[in-house]
């Protein structure tokens, strides 16, 4: 286990059960894991392994049936919807598989959205740096429908970073992109960790995408089946566990 002081988000013996009685399914069957500040972790596993559920629980989007989740020193258990919303707003960033940009806003407005929701004034230098970093300086006034998938996902990355959240959660960020666009987005996330000191937790079943992370946590049947640093290039196809596509 890492030093608890440097752990930004952690789950302790978290279980999540869906349904009741005979048909009940344990999406998470006792998961204990922590993610360190400034790290880039990939949560991997086959469909139904519980990797998405784990992310949802860590991000306060879903609440565990039992166990505790601590985010930046706060126990999420006792928080109600309003408090969770505020926590997500102030401390988390999200990147989704389907980009999920607002079609009615321009690229720049989409980037600024979390700040607008919070009613905060943006830091112009930081916004400028972000937009430049994601390479959309000349497309900031375009609407999402005028952007390619890769461009849209880069807007989403900038949006996730704009409020300098404690953790950025990415849910299959490359799931809808071709390999070139995937690489661009992953490089961006890598840059966010390396240059901006951002913490990123990414759910993916794409081994190539996962290879950009520092650490790979593998889930199987709701339990952790593997956890370790990303193997050096060349060994990627072997991986730390049996997880595959």
């Amino acid at each position: 286990m890492e030093d608890p002081n440097s752990t930004i988000v952690s789950a302790a013996d978290v279980r999540r059960r869906y349904g009741e009685g005979e048909t009940a399914v344990d999406a998470l069957a006792g998961v204990t894991v922590g993610f360190e500040r400034g790290g880039f972790a990939a949560i991997m596993g086959p469909s139904g392994s519980g990797k998405s559920t784990l992310m949802h629980v860590l991000a306060g989007l879903d609440s565990p049936t039992s166990g505790t989740v601590t985010l930046d020193g706060t126990d999420l258990g006792p928080l109600d919807d309003a408090a969770l919303t505020e926590l997500r707003r102030d401390k988390l960033g999200f990147i989704f598989q389907f980009f999920n940009l607002l079609p009615v806003l321009s690229a720049e407005e989409n980037v600024l959205l979390p700040l607008s929701i919070a009613g905060k004034d943006p830091d112009p230098d930081w916004v400028e740096r972000l937009i430049e970093a994601v390479g959309l300086s000349d497309r900031r006034d375009h609407r999402p429908s005028e952007l390619s998938g890769g461009q849209q996902q880069r807007v989403a990355v900038a949006r996730a970073l704009v409020s300098r959240p404690a953790v950025v959660f990415a849910d299959e960020p490359t799931g809808n992109l071709d390999s070139k666009a995937s690489d661009e987005v992953m490089a961006l996330l890598r840059q966010a960790v390396d240059d901006f000191g951002q913490t990123v937790v990414m759910v993916t079943h794409d081994v190539h995408a996962a290879s950009f992370a520092d650490r790979q946590v593998v889930l199987e049947d709701g339990r952790i089946a593997g956890d370790g640093p990303t193997p050096p290039p060349g060994a990627a196809d072997v991986g730390p566990t049996t997880a595959g596509r």
Binding site: T85, R89, F96, G119
Partner: protein
């Protein structure tokens, strides 16, 4: 495919419910209108059938000219003797049946506001059609039998006293009997039975009767008796059998009521029209959302026709379902409309409930047709889905630019055509008022369609204009709301158009009513030189003839001059002329006349066979000073009057021409004035004198009220307000339908935006903020509707009132009222957003994010 239609309905319950509601509300009003008017007609049939039951023949005055607020003139009782002498006649009885006011001892009217009160003669036993529930028939002139329902309403019993105010000063009578007419109910009306001589006295019909009831000798059939009587009696009377009389009076009432039915049906039509917009929008949106489903059906081999039939079947099922529920509810709603009328003082008799087959058939047909008409375009759009759509995240094939331009051009054309048709109806010199009204109405409908079709192009600028202030105030949530309404301008436009219709009509009547009130105020200022007016408390019936002489005696009163009106026919002119009768000597002191030809001296010296004509009458019929007016009076007399002067009567205050009251009495057989105008003595204390007049009037003429000029204006505008209230109440149904339209559109749009809303919630938008976005979206939509509606309302009020400018109609824009309408539109939006906003806020973030 029918099963598919059922499934489609079952899987989208809310949408199905609102679609049905759109049909339901309109049909409820429609069926309710039919049921109510059928029931009222039926009740009157009962009343008249019972009134003449067992009466062989009835003799009544012949109505040469139809009167609006007057009864036909009574005829001489001397005819009774001639009737009795006929060998075919067994017996005959004279009877008076006349409008009076029945009051409690405290001057509290016994009937409801606009329901008539009658005084009727006690007739001999053999002619009695009333049944006595309690007590006995009145014997002495100070006794009365009252209808049981009216007595019960006021808690009166045998031994109590009531006042009857007729032509003479009110007299008090002791109740000796309570009567009932078969099983019929009089509604809010009331009847007081008096001895015949007393009935004649109180109604000012000494020596006259309204009816002769005749019983035939043994073996003489009523028809034969009627023929014999016709041969014997003079031209001025009408002879009918009891059955014929009942049928005639029933049909007259039915004719009067058909207006009520048409008005109610027009309002239900408005609701259904608005409902059509809702249905169109709902089906358009759901067809768009079901593209994949239709694509799949096509892939599996369904033909375009089958897809079309599935969607149409769904629409029809909802339409007929809604209509069925509407008919059921309409039966109950008839009672509600009746209560609504009652609350405005119109209390009509209704006994039992009449559900005619026609009501059910028409309602179902209309429900089906409305949904069919509204659903056919979306259904056709569904057939354009290609099989490949099942496999892709496809959108419905959109309209091309050229097509959109064509639509806009057509819409603009339709708007212009609508306005043009209205103008033809207004200024085209169309004689028949029915045709003119249809043209005006048809034009308005075309213009509404035009605006509705064109409005997608207006959504962007309007949403911008309306949304900016909200955005300035609320930032992001306002911004998102504004952008969301502009996303699918067509959808927003149709939703807003539904509200536009309701609010357009509301602003139209508001503006029009303000114009009427202003014009009435002007008319009073411009035409009345007196200080005080005395009129019937109901505002339209005549007052007692004795009012004038009595009030003249009040200290401080300078002059009293009365005004009477009636209809007459003029040779060479189609339609009835409205005639005023004045007291020439004093009229100049209380009335301001604007002479074009002649002067006040002509008025003061107006002779028995002389007339003063209004300029507009001169212009339209070419009868001017020096000509003769050849008049057929309501009494059936033909009289010639010399036109001696011409006035400009812009407010149409005095009708088409003015005669003397002497001519009225002698030629028209009319003596009751409608208004007595009072001019105070110079220097008299107006308040004190009015108080003294009121005391006299209250004591002796409780059916009359005393009003200063300002009070007169208030009482006139009060009447306009009452009518306005009734119209608002009926229009509110259409507005309710359009509010549901907003609900529907929002719910369906939210459904489409599930993922987007989930993302917003995930990245930290609070539930409150989500609700706010939806709420502002609804408010912007409703304000677009309100702005368009008001623009149409203003346009049409200006158009339709312009031909009335000649008659003193002054158009004014009640800014405050229109501002209130805008506020109400905002409230409607907020109300409409409650449910959708809650849905959006409750959205499960996880499902939303994972939603495809």
């Amino acid at each position: 495919m029918l099963r598919l239609a059922f499934r489609g309905i079952a899987s989208r319950k809310l949408r199905a419910a609102t679609t049905m509601l759109a049909v339901f509300l309109g049909v409820t009003l429609m069926a309710g209108s039919y049921v109510l008017t059928d029931t009222i007609n039926d009740s009157f049939d009962q009343i008249f059938a019972s009134s003449y039951e067992g009466i062989d023949v009835v003799v009544t005055p012949k109505e040469t000219v139809e009167q609006e607020e007057r009864e036909p003139p009574a005829f001489s009782q001397a005819l009774l003797e001639r009737v009795r002498k006929l060998p075919q006649v067994e017996d005959a009885a004279p009877s008076v049946f006349s409008n009076v006011r029945i009051l409690t001892q405290k001057n509290d009217p016994i009937g409801s506001e606009f329901a008539p009160n009658f005084a009727s003669s006690r007739v001999p036993e053999g002619f009695e059609t009333l049944t006595y529930e309690a007590g006995r028939r009145p014997q002495s002139p100070r006794e009365v039998a009252l209808d049981a329902a009216a007595a019960e309403r006021k808690g009166l019993a045998i031994g109590d006293r009531v006042k009857v105010a007729g032509e003479r000063s009110a007299a008090s009578y002791r109740i000796v009997g309570l009567v009932q007419l078969g099983d019929a109910s009089f509604g809010g009306a009331a009847i007081a039975v008096l001895t015949h001589p007393e009935a004649q006295r109180v109604t000012g019909k000494q020596g006259k009767v309204d009816q002769l009831l005749v019983a035939g000798a043994d073996g003489v059939a009523p028809e034969r008796l009627a023929r014999a009587l016709s041969a014997e009696l003079p031209q001025g009377v009408e002879v009918r059998t009891g059955e014929q009389t009942a049928a005639k009076e029933s049909s007259e009432i039915a004719e009067d009521l058909s207006f009520l039915k048409i008005v109610l049906l027009v309002f239900s039509g408005v609701s259904l029209f608005v409902g059509g917009f809702l249905i169109f929008n709902t089906f358009s949106i759901t067809v768009a959302q079901r593209v994949r489903e239709f694509g799949l059906l096509r892939t599996l081999g369904a033909s375009r026709g089958q897809v079309l039939r599935a969607v149409i079947a769904e629409a029809l099922l909802l339409g007929i379902g809604g209509a069925l529920l509407g008919v059921a509810a309409g039966v109950g709603f008839a009672g509600a409309i009746n209560s609504l009328f009652k609350s405005f003082g119109i209390d009509l008799p209704n006994t039992g409930t009449v559900l005619a087959p026609r009501t059910v058939i028409v309602s179902l047909l209309v429900g089906a047709l409305v949904t069919l008409a509204a659903g056919v375009v979306p259904a056709l759009r569904a057939t354009r889905v290609s099989p490949i759509a099942a496999l892709r995240d496809a959108e419905l094939p959109g309209s091309t630019g050229a097509r959109r331009r064509l639509t806009a051009a057509l819409a603009a054309l339709l708007m212009l055509a609508g306005v043009a048709i209205t103008c033809i109806g207004l200024f085209g010199g169309i004689e028949s008022s029915g045709q003119a009204a249809s043209l005006i109405g048809g034009g308005a409908v075309a213009a509404i369609f035009g605006v509705a079709l064109f409005s997608p192009r207006l959504v962007r600028p309007l949403a911008s204009a309306i949304g900016r202030p909200i955005e300035g105030l609320r930032g992001l949530t306002g911004r998102l709301a504004r952008e969301n309404t502009m996303r699918r301008p067509g959808r927003t436009a149709v939703t807003a158009a539904a509200l536009m219709i309701g609010l357009g009509l509301v602003s139209f009547v508001t503006i029009f009513a303000a114009g009427v009130k202003g014009s009435v105020d002007d008319a009073i200022d411009n035409n009345l030189a007196g200080d005080i007016s005395i009129q019937n408390t109901d505002g339209f019936s005549p007052i007692a003839e004795d009012v004038g002489p009595e009030v003249t005696r009040v200290p401080g009163v300078g002059t009293v001059s009365t005004l009477a009106t009636a209809n007459a026919r003029v040779a060479g002119v189609s339609g009835d002329a409205r005639v005023s009768a004045v007291e020439p000597r004093t009229a100049g002191e209380v009335l301001k006349l604007d002479f074009v030809d002649g002067s006040g001296d002509d008025l003061a010296s107006l002779g028995r066979r002389e007339a003063i004509v209004d300029r507009t009458y001169v212009e339209s019929h070419g009868i001017g000073v020096g000509d003769k007016l050849r008049v057929t009076t309501p009494a059936g007399k033909r009289v010639e009057y010399d036109v001696v002067a011409e006035v400009r009567d812009n407010a149409d205050f005095l009708g088409d021409f003015i005669l003397t009251q002497q001519a009225f009495r002698e030629d028209f057989g009319e003596s009751k004035p409608f208004t007595a105008f009072v001019k105070l003595e110079p220097g008299a204390d107006a308040g004190a004198v009015q108080g003294r007049i009121e005391r006299v009037v209250d004591r002796r003429f409780p059916a009359a009220e005393v009003l200063s000029q300002d009070q007169l204006k208030d009482s006139q505008s009060e009447q306009v307000n009452q009518l306005l209230g009734l119209i608002y109440a009926l229009l509110s149904l259409a507005v309710v339908v359009s509010v549901f339209g907003i609900v529907n559109t929002l719910v369906l749009s939210i459904h489409e935006r599930t993922r987007e809303l989930g993302m917003l919630r995930a990245i930290g938008m609070s539930r409150r903020q989500v609700r706010r976005v939806i709420r502002y979206e609804a408010v912007i939509t409703s304000l677009i509707g309100a702005v368009l509606g008001m623009a149409l309302g203003v346009l049409f009020a200006a158009l339709i009132s312009s031909p009335l400018a000649d008659e003193g109609f002054s158009l004014s824009f009640p800014i405050a009222n229109l501002a209130i309408l805008l506020v109400l539109a905002i409230l409607a939006g907020i109300l409409a957003a409650i449910l959708p906003a809650r849905r959006a806020a409750r959205l499960d973030v996880l499902r939303a994010v994972a939603y495809e």
